[in-house]
Every structure is written in structure tokens, then in C-alpha cells.
Amino acid sequence: MLLKELSDAKSRLYRGLNIKIGQFTFRIAIHNNSAIHDFIQNYSEFPVLDNDEFYDFNIMLKSPSFLRKFLYPQINFYCNEVPPFIPLPEDQAYAMLEWGMNWCIANHAHHFLIIHAAVIEKNNYSVILPGLPGAGKSTLTAALTTREWRLLSDELTLISLNGDTITPLSRPINLKNNSIDIIKSYSPNAKFSKIANDTHKGSVALMKPSKFSVDRVSELVKPRFIIFPKYEKNSELVMKGVHKKDCFIEMIKHSFNYNILGLDGFNSLTHLVNTTDCFSFIYSELDEAIEKFDSLVNA
């Protein structure tokens, strides 16, 4: 059963509900009405499991104390009843839930090499998009997924330890600041969570993943391209080959767990880089960028 088919989704989410997101099952309890609303909207196409089924992460979003429900209301994220972060203002609840879910996966899923990168796919060609904050990775990813590209992930690229496959998550896309309005006007039908203002990343909104991306979340893909995007206002579109040796070093910098995995991480990443084509990509116009990406996979 999908989350959208649950008539009592709100109360189940308050009490605790098992939801399957790609290869992971989260047991999620949310004590915040706004975050429950955003979660139900953005995860409506994901399957709900019975509460007695195994789950990987037991997470909860609730006020850190009774007093904080009323006085400068705050919210905190708990994983297995332990709060890994400091509390945040209550109106950042849903964003905190998404960051917390990222934290759970990045800190525990060491059966993958985890890269801080978006990953998308079309015509069986996957593109990994590593990018520093502000590089325009999520904006480009969001735009592409409104134009027939499948979303595998916006933040965490999960590479198998043999470097041969990417496992999708298809969770909402985290857009920040100007990107929110850019994508809202670029794709008027896209759905967004409420905007959380004044977070440590500025204003944040999470865009609902496309239905066809979620429907195909169990389909693994082979890595094909690694492209380092960079948004530069008024720039010409430029796509240039990157030496694989430079790409390898950059990918180590973007990895969450390369050092934890040791030899497995080294083997996975060397295989990944040796079997993909690597590019840098500067863009300013989304239509132009998408046309270029389409040309890569329509050849």
C-alpha cells in the first residue's frame, strides 16, 4: 500500500509508520503538523509497510522538551532515540527530517560507497553530478527531472562496492534560496514543501520527486557519466572533458565514507572512474543545459 492510499496517514505518522524508501526502511514518527503535511505530500508514492516488519532506521521528529512546544518552539531529530543534532526552530521541522534521513544513510550504509552528488538517468544512461554547495547541482537536477529524466538521488549517490551499479533513493530534491523560485516558474506543476527560512543553508524547500522516478526506485543503473556542474550567471554553456585522475581525486573529496571503506572504497572508486566519462559543465540557462544533457543520451 502506498502512503497516499492510507486514510489514517496523519495519525499513523504521529504514532510511527514504516515506509520503504529504495533499499531502506524507515520507521518514522513526526510530532509536528506542518512536517506531517509536507511528508505526506512528498512521499505519497512510496510504499508503507506493516509496523511489525524490519526497519533500518527508527527516527522521530519531536519537540526537545515540553516547554519548547510553546516558548520559542523548537524541534529535534532522533535516531534510535538519540538526537545527533542540536534542536532547530520548529518551522524547519520538515527540512530537519530530510537532513536527518540523509545523516542516517550517510553514517550507516557502508555497504555502499556514498558520494555527495545527485544522480539522474535517461535511456539507461546515468549521470552523476557531484557539486559543492551553491554549484547549481540541485537546480539542474530538479529541472532535468521535470523533463523526462529519472531522479535517482539529489544528495547521496550510492555506489556498489564493485563500482558497477548505482542504487536509487528518489527522495525529494533539496532546493535553496533563488533556486526555489527558478524551479517553481520553470515547472509550475511541481510540488514543494513549505519554505523553511533562515536555516543554516538559507531558505530551503523540498521538491516532490516525479512519480515515475519513485515507481522505478528499485531499478539499479550502471554509472555512465560523471559531470561536475557549475552555474555561472550569463555564461556560455561549456562542457569539457576532465582527466580521470583529477576526477578520481575530486570524487574522494565528495565521498562521505571513502576513508571508512578503506580498500573497498579504493576499488569501488577506481572502477567507477575508469568506466565512466568525466566532464566539467558550466551553464546559465536551464533549457540549454537540458538540451546538452539530452544530446549525451540520445546519440
Binding site: H243, K244, K245, F248, I249, I252, N259, G262, L263, F266, N267, T270, V273, N274
Partner: protein, 93 residues
């Protein structure tokens, strides 16, 4: 360093080529070492079997023909010391 010393790759050294550059993962230190491509011949030679420093100097002389013999011997000795320090190779006892 004694030219008759025989060196081998350490047990915890793993080498992969990317773009004609050797990347070496050293399990003991959990470090990834990027090797200057001028030194590829050392790793390639050691992948087959152990080798003396004088043999490496001899191979280097056939590659870097413009360099003086003295420079080549120094180049090899310095880099061998560096690779030993990084646990990529060791003196075979």
C-alpha cells in the same frame, strides 16, 4: 642507500592505473598515494617480482637518457626513500 638492497611492494599496497597515473592505496595507513607518472616503471617492475635498487637505476638510465647518471641515481634513491616512508615498498630482508 645500498644499491644492492632488494625492494618489494609491501603486502598492504594496492595499485590501480587511472589515466596512466598510478594510484596506490596503502591499507596500513589508510592513505591513497598518487604517484608521479615518471615513477610508473618502478611499480610496474615491482608488480612482477622483487628488484634491486641498482636494477631500477639501470632501467631509469634507459628511460631518462638526457639526465646524467648521477642525477638518475639520486632521483631513484630519493624516491625509493619516499615510497618506503609511505609504506608502498620495503627493503626485502
Amino acid at each position: 642507500m645500498n644499491c644492492d638492497s632488494v625492494i618489494v611492494l609491501t603486502d598492504y599496497c594496492h595499485c590501480r592505473y587511472i589515466d596512466d597515473v598510478h594510484f596506490i592505496y596503502v591499507e596500513k595507513t589508510n592513505e591513497t598515494v598518487v604517484l608521479d607518472s615518471d615513477l610508473n616503471f618502478i611499480i610496474d617492475r615491482l608488480k612482477n617480482s622483487s628488484c634491486s635498487i641498482s636494477e631500477l637505476i639501470s632501467i631509469a638510465k634507459s628511460i631518462f637518457t638526457d639526465e646524467s647518471n648521477l642525477n638518475i641515481a639520486t632521483f631513484i634513491n630519493i624516491n625509493i626513500e619516499n615510497l618506503i616512508a609511505q609504506d608502498v615498498i620495503r627493503i626485502d630482508i
